[in-house]
Subunit: 293 residues, 2 copies
Amino acid sequence: MPEILNKYTEIINTRLKELLDLKQVHPVIKDAMNYSVMAGGKRLRPTLNIMANALLSGNVRETLDIACAIEIIHTYSLVHDDLPAMDNDDLRRGKPTSHVMFGEAFAVLCGDALLNFAYEVMMKNALRHASNMDSHLKAMLEVATGAGVYGMITGQCGDIENEGQILTEAELKQVHEHKTGAMIKSSLLSGLLLCDPRQEYIDALTVYGNNIGLTFQIIDDVLDIVGDSKKMGKTLGKDKTSKKFTFPTLYGIEKSMKIAEEKTEEAVNALTIFGTRGKELTDLAYFILKRER
Amino acid sequence: MPEILNKYTEIINTRLKELLDLKQVHPVIKDAMNYSVMAGGKRLRPTLNIMANALLSGNVRETLDIACAIEIIHTYSLVHDDLPAMDNDDLRRGKPTSHVMFGEAFAVLCGDALLNFAYEVMMKNALRHASNMDSHLKAMLEVATGAGVYGMITGQCGDIENEGQILTEAELKQVHEHKTGAMIKSSLLSGLLLCDPRQEYIDALTVYGNNIGLTFQIIDDVLDIVGDSKKMGKTLGKDKTSKKFTFPTLYGIEKSMKIAEEKTEEAVNALTIFGTRGKELTDLAYFILKRER
């Protein structure tokens, strides 16, 4: 794990484990939820949430459950994405996928349980922070908007529909903005919103989020072609098999990387407003550009 | 539609339609969400929410979006329950199920989108009622608890696992309490919680909810054997085919109906504390006992 992600991984993982130590629930669903959430992963989105919260001297203890809820939502989306009816993937985070381990019915229920549980976690957290409840509700709504039909889900629909199609750069960007970008942006903004931020801070972090979101997806698609399946813990070469239209399909690898570099610079420039506090997110932007290669 | 359910159906349906008039989302997911939510249905759970809210002179406009969110959550659970990997049902509310209409991938995403959207709706509603935000959060958490791994989802797990098994009455009750009872109870309590109720009111409504929840499921299972598939708008006789263990399997139809009658009396008695305001929920309990036969 690169150092920049190491900083918060332990407190995120410890809290996730605590939260998922569920009592009086069906044992198979408890296992399935724990299996997928604790299978590893970079914890990128919760880290973004905590780092964004820290931009305005937030309190990591206050945003930690929102960060964990975001990771739980991300995990649910992977569990459902991997289903036979969707991407039909057998390997995720280096391990057999949920439906391979628990069967398809439990994998559907596991995703449902995780999504719902994320909201339970955030609501309980909000009730514990009664003096800042309005900000908590805004942060939760930001997460929900990124995860839902206005965000990630519309992106996944585009992804399904576009298989075998040829897209323009604008169309491709739009799918990416929804599919990956929306949750990345929401992870950041929800952390910031707990601090009752001025609009210019929200705007700056939105620019940062949009740009690292796009970079993340471009790099993901490039790695699907040139990456090391063992290092990445998932089946690669799937985009070609499933005829998914990506930045490398449109521009080739070299130009795609050039675009990713430009986007990263735009992201980093947007952080200027936060002064030296922007250091962590700057490092993270470069990590996303250079990850696993 | 029986008169007791008629009272709030129109405002529920009108509001659901407004809420689901989504802009800038993927057209197929918008269609799929609208298709399943607007396919009809008795709107029992949102009606329970509004009636419970009215017990303590609540404000129907304030709880209406919670009521709608509950119906949206109920619909998501049906969409996923009907999937080939789950109950594999082709017919629901008298119409082809979501995966028959839109394909399996979109049916998975439609369920996900609906569940997430329910929380978006409730959070926006809470933000509009800033002076009562604490009660809104408690009401939302009640809904989330009923819908999630502590409630409905653990019930669905039990349902899958118990196919072909023989259960005791206690085991069967436990599955029912989770699968159907939890959401019915949460529908009621979330409506009440907006009024900052005394504990004795919560307790009374919990007794009512547990008893009508069990009655609802017993009648459902009896109707699966003796009901009219056309009237009910779904495939019947499925419990036998799938070897689902139910109250009629355990006790036969006559004794099952006797239990349902007893439970209904217990439910109605619990409403005494609310005086004449309990009239609507009393009528509803008898409707549940006598529905569609």
